[in-house]
Structures are given as structure tokens and as C-alpha cells.
Amino acid sequence: MDVGFIGLGLMGRPMALNLIKAGHRVHAWSRRRESMQPLLDAGAGDCASAAEVARHASITISMVADAPDVEQVTLGADGVADGASPGHIHIDMSTIAPAAAQSIAARLAERGVVALDAPVSGGEPGAIAGTLTIMVGGELEACARVQPLFEAMGKSITRIGEAGAGQVAKACNQIITGVGVASVAEALNFAARSGVDGAKVREALLGGFAYSRILENHGQRMLERNFKPGFKAWMHQKDVRIVMDEAHRLGLALPTAAATMQLFNAMAGSGLGEDDSVALLKLIERMSGGAGE
């Protein structure tokens, strides 16, 4: 089918390429012109604005940084709503606050656009391999219509509930992954400073109740001291901040996530924000009197 794609960054680009690979006609626009080229080389249609994308395809997808960006490309000048015909479906796959997703969905509905929130987990490797986990919020019927598109980009696709519910699931995902990265970093530093081989510890733990994808993947990268992003620490900081803002609004205690958020703050403040979030290991090393390089 014809599908529009807005936002061709680290995640968006491979996701759009997978749509082309699956035989869909992709019409693309990105705020940064240079990020368009790989898509155009693969045969995507070149659009001058989000509105033009929406004129070419009755289903559009956005993958951008934060809620204001989503608002801009959907409801702003030359946004999706400006180009959409009645019955248009817009899928936002960015990670934003559940409350923001609900508000954007309501305002798009007023302009005849059905909105789905469909944030993903799996990082850049998952985006390239087409194995993302996709958490969907929004109308059942619209979800069913866009299912083939989700299947081109991801493996595990779950409709969580109504608008905003996908972002709630993503917030839960970020609590668990954020805290997970911190605990793996602490454990590996603990092992190293106790004079024990972290690689062996990881290998042993993978067979037991401490097994997790984080220990497996992030743990491996920490051992290799491979801090290239991946998923930048400041992005993880942003996501945990969304969670903490929601918790504040709802009157919920998230003591462990709160502690993790402060570690991400410290990463941003000490120049580790552009590294992958596995560079949390460096921060923990520095906090323990090590060099952390």
C-alpha cells in the first residue's frame, strides 16, 4: 500500500527501508534533507512537507524525537492534518508522554484523522532486522488496517488499548530497561572491582534468574567497552523523564526509576549523553573511584 514516512533518523530510516522491502510504496519527508538520500536511492517518493506526504498516502507514520515534534509534523503548518483526506490514519511511532499522545489523537480526530500511538522497543538493531516490538494504542479497526505495515517493521505486535495505551506500555518498557541497564552496569563494576572476570559472571548469570535481554546484549557491549550508539543516553534520559512526569501527575512512587533517572542526569551532565546508554558503566566506574574511560 501507499504509506507516508516522516522522520528518517537512526530508527526511522531502517523502518522505512523495511516497508519498501516488503513491497509498499513509501513517500518520505524529513526535516533534515540529507537524511532523505538513502530512502530516495531505494525508490521512495520525495516530498517537500508532511502535508505533501499525507496527500500521497492515506496512512502516514512519524518517527521523531519528542512530543513537540509530533505536534509540529501532525497538527502544525504543512503538517499531516493539512494534507489528509477523510479517513486518514496517522501512526506515531515516537516515544512521547501518554498524555501528549491522547491530546494529539483527540485534536487529530477533530480534523478527521484517526491517530494510533505505536512506540517500539528493540533499538537500531531491531529496526534494521525488522524485529521491533510494537506497542499499539488506538481504534481496533485502524489497528487491523495497518497491521501489514507493522509486520514489515516488527515481530511482536500487541494492541494494548485505546489512544495513549501504547505509550503507557512503552513507559513501562523504559522503566524496566533503564533500571536494567543500571543494575547490569553496577553488577559488572562490582565484579571487576572484586577482581573477578565480568565475562564469566555474565555467562553464568545468563543461565539463571538474572537472565535478561539487557544482561545479554547491553552486558556484552559493556564488556567490550563498545559505547557507540545504539540508543543514546540522552534519549533514555528523556524517556525516563516522561515516566517520572507521569508518576508525578498520578501520585505514584517509582523509587528505583527515580534513582536511575539521576544516573542518566549525571551522564548528560558529565558529557556521556551522546554515548550509548551502556556508558552508564563509565559513570558507575567514576563514582567508585575508577577512571571510567
Binding site: 508525578h248 542526569n265 549523553g273
Partner: protein, 294 residues
């Protein structure tokens, strides 16, 4: 204030709550020409009955005042009063001053100061510490962010309201100091709550513990005031916990933007969230003790 050389000023006042009303009365008692505006006119009824003029809009209040003082709840309230429809900015002549004594985000204070400066209007952020008691006794601590000459013009007013007046720095700096104040204060309330909880768990007389600690290195204003409330299990506000909760959202948000880790404050924030979730937002922050007891 009636001493030689002191000038009586035309002052506008907005925000006649637990803090604002006694502050407005002190200014009037010092001989200043006071007028008010109130979102809920009934909150101004007592002062109006005593002859204080009530203006129809913030703009009208600004037009008759040399200085307008606001003390309201949130950043958005102050922005609305300043630059909303019929806001203060629409009424101020050049050279007039907006003194905001609310607790708001430093970034909001800086932005309002810049927008006023374009119109030749002065700005002072002057959040206070000391609570309702400090407002009634005119013993507030006042933390000012302003240009030197602007602060010099309003300092006589501050001297009517408070005891310790410190010029922290340029616009926004007063709010930074207030954020630090809130962080230390509420973290200390949490520490006191944990101490009371620990003493209770041991079956020890918490009143005696508090009394002993007041004489030593753990002595603090919080242990004195909030500690006493915990011992007496009197959780009526004082300062409503929801206001501390609001302040924590501001300071944690700014810390994230700055990349500043605040590990203890982050934990305290979560205890405040739990307090709110338990429905104690309009009671005293010493209710943090009850969060531990759940």
C-alpha cells in the same frame, strides 16, 4: 517605614492567600497605598471592606501602581497574570516593576524578565521561605533575583515583609535559591520522618528523641516545627504538601535539563508522590511520616 526619607509607594497586590494576605496588610500598615486584584473577588473581601480598592483587571491594577507584587501558585499563573489578556504588561508604564514572590521555575522567571525588559519594565523574582507564620510575623527570608537598581527600588518593601533579604543574582537567581531551599527542607522533613519512624519501631519515646536531637548537630528548623507535628501527630497544614510536591516537579525538571544528579531529592520526590497518591496533598508535609507507616 515612616522614617525620614522613606517614600510611600503605590503598590498593587495579587494573590491574597495564606501568605499574600498578611503580606499585603503589612505593606498597608507601613503606610503604602495598596490596591488589589483577585481572581476570586471573595478572597479580597476583607481588605476591600477596610477600604482597599479592588481593580477589575490586572492591567488596571498595573496602570495605577509603581510596583505590583504577585504571590500565586504556578509558573503558568504568573505568565497569565503578566502577559495574558488584560495582564499586567498591558497596564504597566515604562519604569514600573513586577515583583513576583511565587515559587516558579527559574526559566520562567528569566523569560518574563526578558520580555518585560523589552518594554522598559522591571522584574524581580523574590520567592520567600518561612511559611504562613513568617508572613504573619514579617520574618520571611526573601531570595531576590534582579538587576541591582531594580532591587534597590523595592528593597524598602521587602524590609517590611521579611528579616533576611539576600540579593542572589540576576533575574531567575532568586528562584534557583528557592529550589535549593525546597530541596533541603523537604529532604530534611523526610529524614525527620524516618528518624521518628525508627524511634517508634524501637518503642522509644519519640518526643524525648526529638528534644535531645534539637540540642545537637541534627537540630534544625524542620526538626523543631515539622518534628513537633510528627510527635503530636498533628498533620494539619502548615504548608500544604501539594505545594512542596509542585516545587519538586520544577526542580527535578530543571535538574534533568542541566544534567545535574540529585539522588536523594529524587527519592524524596517519590515519597511525595506516594503522599499525593494517599490523598494527603492538602495536609502538612509532615505526612511523609504516614507514608512510611503505610
Amino acid at each position: 517605614m515612616n522614617g525620614a526619607g522613606e517614600k510611600h509607594m503605590k503598590i498593587g497586590f495579587i494573590g491574597l492567600g495564606v501568605m499574600g494576605e498578611p503580606m499585603a496588610r503589612h505593606l498597608r500598615a507601613a503606610g503604602h497605598d495598596l490596591a488589589v486584584w483577585a481572581r476570586r473577588p471573595e478572597s479580597a473581601a476583607a481588605l476591600v471592606a477596610e477600604g482597599v480598592p479592588l481593580c477589575a483587571t490586572p492591567a488596571e491594577l498595573a496602570a495605577r501602581s509603581e510596583v505590583v507584587i504577585t504571590i500565586v501558585t504556578a509558573s503558568a499563573d504568573v505568565e497569565g497574570l503578566a502577559f495574558g489578556p488584560e495582564g499586567l504588561a498591558a497596564g504597566f508604564a515604562a519604569g514600573r516593576i513586577h515583583v513576583d514572590m511565587s515559587t516558579i521555575a527559574p526559566a520562567t522567571a528569566r523569560s518574563l524578565a526578558a520580555r518585560y525588559a523589552e518594554r522598559g519594565i522591571g522584574w524581580v523574582d523574590a520567592p520567600v521561605s518561612g511559611g504562613g507564620q513568617g508572613a504573619r510575623d514579617a520574618t520571611l527570608a526573601i531570595m531576590a533575583g534582579a538587576e541591582d537598581e531594580t532591587l534597590a527600588r523595592v528593597r524598602p518593601l521587602f524590609e517590611v515583609l521579611g528579616k533576611r533579604i539576600v540579593h542572589i543574582g540576576p533575574p531567575g537567581a532568586g528562584q534557583v535559591a528557592k529550589a535549593c531551599n525546597q530541596m533541603i527542607m523537604v529532604s530534611t522533613i523526610q529524614a525527620c520522618a524516618e528518624a521518628v519512624s525508627l524511634a517508634s519501631a524501637h518503642g522509644v519515646d519519640v518526643a524525648a528523641v526529638r528534644q535531645a536531637l534539637m540540642g545537637g548537630s541534627a537540630g534544625s528548623k524542620v526538626l523543631e516545627v515539622m518534628g513537633a507535628k510528627m510527635v503530636e501527630r498533628d498533620f494539619t497544614a502548615g504548608i500544604e504538601a501539594r505545594l512542596h510536591h509542585k516545587d519538586f516537579a520544577i526542580l527535578m525538571d530543571e535538574a534533568a535539563k542541566l544534567g545535574a544528579p540529585l539522588p536523594v531529592a529524587a527519592q524524596v520526590w517519590q515519597q511525595l508522590n506516594a503522599l499525593m497518591g494517599a490523598g494527603w496533598g492538602r495536609e502538612d508535609t509532615s505526612s511523609l511520616l504516614r507514608v512510611l507507616e503505610r
